[in-house]
Amino acid sequence: MKQPLQLLAIGLAGALAADWLGIPAGLLIGAMLAVAIATLARFDLGKVPLLYDEGGKILLGTAIGATFNRRVLLQLGALLPSAITATLAMIAIGLALGWLLAKIAHLDIATGLFSLTPGGIAEMVAVAQEIGAGATVVATLQFVRLSSVVLLAPAIIGWFFS
């Protein structure tokens, strides 16, 4: 019972510190970095309780769903054809890079592909596990992909507008 509370305390401290420093998306990034650093420093924080993971997703999903309106739907509809094309290109590039990674780093092809395909992390790991690819490698590289994108996104967006 102690570990989930420690996890929450560390995450909250990081979130508040980053928010106070005015880091964009600070609550998310601060909590993420603080917990990642504590985990890497071998603090035994146990597994993330389902309540945190799914609870966070449900709260955010609900908050975003509540902002849906006709204007959003209209924009989304107008955007979809080009966004789907771009998404297909992203998937193709991800697969090509995954294949290249497998060749360069001597992984088996399936592991390389599932490590870089931009799908949901849970789905990618599950499929890798199912066909006997390196699920740990897939999970770790998918984590690196997700966390580096979240970390870099504010800087990229900022750079884009300058």
């Binding site: 449900i58 609900t62 509540a66 849906f68 924009q75 992203m90």
Partner: protein, 176 residues
């Protein structure tokens, strides 16, 4: 206000439970978003949830992303990581390029931040969460990522068949 918030949270929870039950790609996040999205579209007087809900969500999501770091796995991948980082860098650069093309070729005026966050190869919940603070439209970012997850999910059988083709997979024993 409180009744409205509790009502929407229950709708979100119901959507999440259904999504989990039918194993929908995007899972509880997308399930909650779709169910409350429908209700909000149908109810013209629907209001956004109080800000504290999303702040709590951001902290919880940050904790679960951060906690999924695995020290042993990272150390064992020392050799692979620099290459993987380079590939991820290329993938992100490609998303910025593609995002720019989509941004400059649109009929409406969706912001560049929204389009970029919607196309970047990150997680649906993480990037939608970041959208709030980066001046992007979280609902569009989340929807674009849901579309991406559905496309990948749809392409998986094709990919698996391709991988099953003899000669593609170097690993000899798959333990099946």
């Amino acid at each position: 206000m409180l009744a409205h918030t509790v009502f929407l949270l229950l709708i979100g929870l119901a959507g999440a439970i259904v999504a989990r039950r039918i194993k929908m790609p995007g899972g509880t996040f997308l399930g909650a978003m779709i169910s409350t999205g429908i209700v909000s579209l149908l109810a013209p007087d629907s209001q956004p949830l109080p800000e504290v809900i999303r702040s709590v969500a951001l902290v919880l999501l940050g904790i679960s992303i951060g906690a999924s770091v695995d020290r042993e796995a990272l150390l064992s991948l020392r050799r692979v990581l620099p290459w993987a980082a380079a590939m991820i860098g290329i993938l992100i650069a490609a998303s910025v390029g593609l995002g720019w093309v989509v941004y400059t070729h649109q009929a409406l005026d969706v912001s560049a931040a929204t389009i970029l966050l919607g196309i970047m190869p990150g997680g649906a919940s993480g990037l939608s969460a970041a959208a709030y603070d980066l001046g992007a439209e979280p609902s569009i970012v989340a929807s674009l990522h849901s579309v991406r997850q559905f496309i990948v999910f749809g392409l998986l059988p094709l990919l698996l068949r391709w991988l099953a083709h003899p000669g593609w997979n170097k690993q000899k024993d798959r333990g099946e």
